[in-house]
């Protein structure tokens, strides 16, 4: 429970400390995961490296490729004017996390690195084909978010690396995003299942040109519903098609039963939320285009 505390004031200093302490150290962003894990005795770091004075991790950039700094809080994300339109799914994913107190400090980067299979914003970023920029002593590298989490709580981030931002390409025309979650109460809820989609329509506004469907809490990590995506591509998006996509997504997910829900109910929720989140995207694209 005791640890040394550091407040580096540059990226380089932060990375040096991370490299020095390796597995004995943890970066501290918002603390909403780290501090709870420490309180529950699951983590006992010897060194805690606060990132709050490290510059260069808080920008939201939206000209061309969109980039969200690792230390951007959920609060800033849900208020970002750039995400009010077709990228609304990001706001929807951010605004249901915890309550205001949690969202005021919890960061996007912290969420990604925490690698909970239920992480709401991460599911939306997955549907946006996000790539992650990681900084280490050897320099910078980018990884796809898809596959970044390797198991619950584990990622491909090196022990001496720092996540600096998540980026994704700007949306093609006739695109929209949406996010939905299911839980036992309406706030302060870790998703029983959550689903995000990014949908791009053909010029006829009927047929799916391109789609991403991402799911949370139905596998060891957040996941893409690739079979459902393949099914939808090129297809006219009738109610029946959306329903079928839901069934396909339900069949390809790998939920477990736990104290929050049974595996069967989670699969059932996937079959329900996927059509709903797609329908919402569909409605948004059509509205944007009219």
């Amino acid at each position: 429970m005791f640890f040394n505390y550091y407040e580096p004031t540059s990226l380089r200093e932060a990375i040096e400390l991370g490299a020095r302490f390796g597995g004995d150290g943890r970066f501290l962003a918002g603390g909403t995961d780290l501090m709870v894990q420490i309180h529950r005795g699951r983590l006992d770091p010897r060194h805690v490296i606060s990132l709050q004075r490290v510059p260069g991790l808080e920008a939201i950039e939206a000209d061309g490729t969109i980039s969200i700094g690792a230390r951007v809080t959920h609060r800033r994300l849900e208020r970002a004017p750039d995400f009010q339109g077709a990228l609304r799914g990001l706001i929807e994913g951010a605004e249901v996390v915890g309550g205001h107190q949690v969202r005021n400090v919890a960061t996007v980067g912290g969420n990604i690195v925490n690698a909970s299979p239920a992480a709401d914003v991460v599911v939306v970023l997955l549907a946006l084909d996000a790539r992650l920029t990681c900084l280490g002593p050897a320099g910078e590298r980018t990884l796809a978010l898809d596959g970044f989490a390797t198991a619950p709580g584990a990622t491909a981030l090196g022990p001496d690396e720092l996540l600096s931002r998540a980026s994704f390409p700007r949306l093609a025309p006739r695109s929209a995003t949406a996010f939905l979650k299911a839980g036992r109460r309406r706030a302060m809820e870790i998703s029983i299942v959550c689903a995000a989609a990014r949908l791009t329509l053909d010029a006829d506004l009927e047929r799916c040109r391109d789609v991403r469907v991402a799911l949370g809490a139905v596998g060891p990590t957040v996941m893409r519903a690739r079979a459902a995506e393949r099914y939808l591509e090129g297809r006219p998006l009738t109610d029946g098609a959306l329903r079928d996509a839901g069934q396909i997504a339900a069949a390809e997910c790998r939920p477990i039963g736990d104290v929050r829900a049974s595996a069967r109910y989670r699969a059932l929720l996937v079959a329900t939320l996927v059509p709903r989140v797609l329908a919402r995207c569909l409605e948004r694209v059509r509205l944007q285009s009219s």
Partner: protein
Amino acid sequence: MTRIPLSLIINGQTHEVLAEPHRTLLDVLRTDLGLVGTKENCLEAECGVCTVLVEGAAVNACILLAAQCQGRAIVTIEGLAAPGQLHPLQQAFIDHGAVQCGYCIPGMLLAAKAYLDESPEPNENGVREALAGNLCRCTGYQRIIEAVLSAARVLRASPTPASPETAS
């Protein structure tokens, strides 16, 4: 474990504290500084009784390290109004019967204040959403929400000048 010197600005006053780095702001407030108006319960950011304002934003003091708070203006319930006075929110909570056991109330008031500071014309759903991180077991929230909406009206009619304590 070595204690480190911390300079904490609470309700406009600077407090010099010596504390081990792992100590939370909540613990330092209550144990070292005797400011027990901020309450403790779950210690896991789930219940909101420990809500304080840091630079005007509502946060859970139980997961904030005291060491992270150096140089940042903190407001606790003790600083919501000058001694002997009541903020319109506090008056509204009294008038609307929003208080029962009272243990959640300091956190609730600060969460409400942060919300009204940025949303001076709230509706019921907005208030509920803003207070969703503050659990209350006694009231069912109803009169708390009415009190916040009422205080919002009072504040719009005659804005409270920012006291040094609450200026962020």
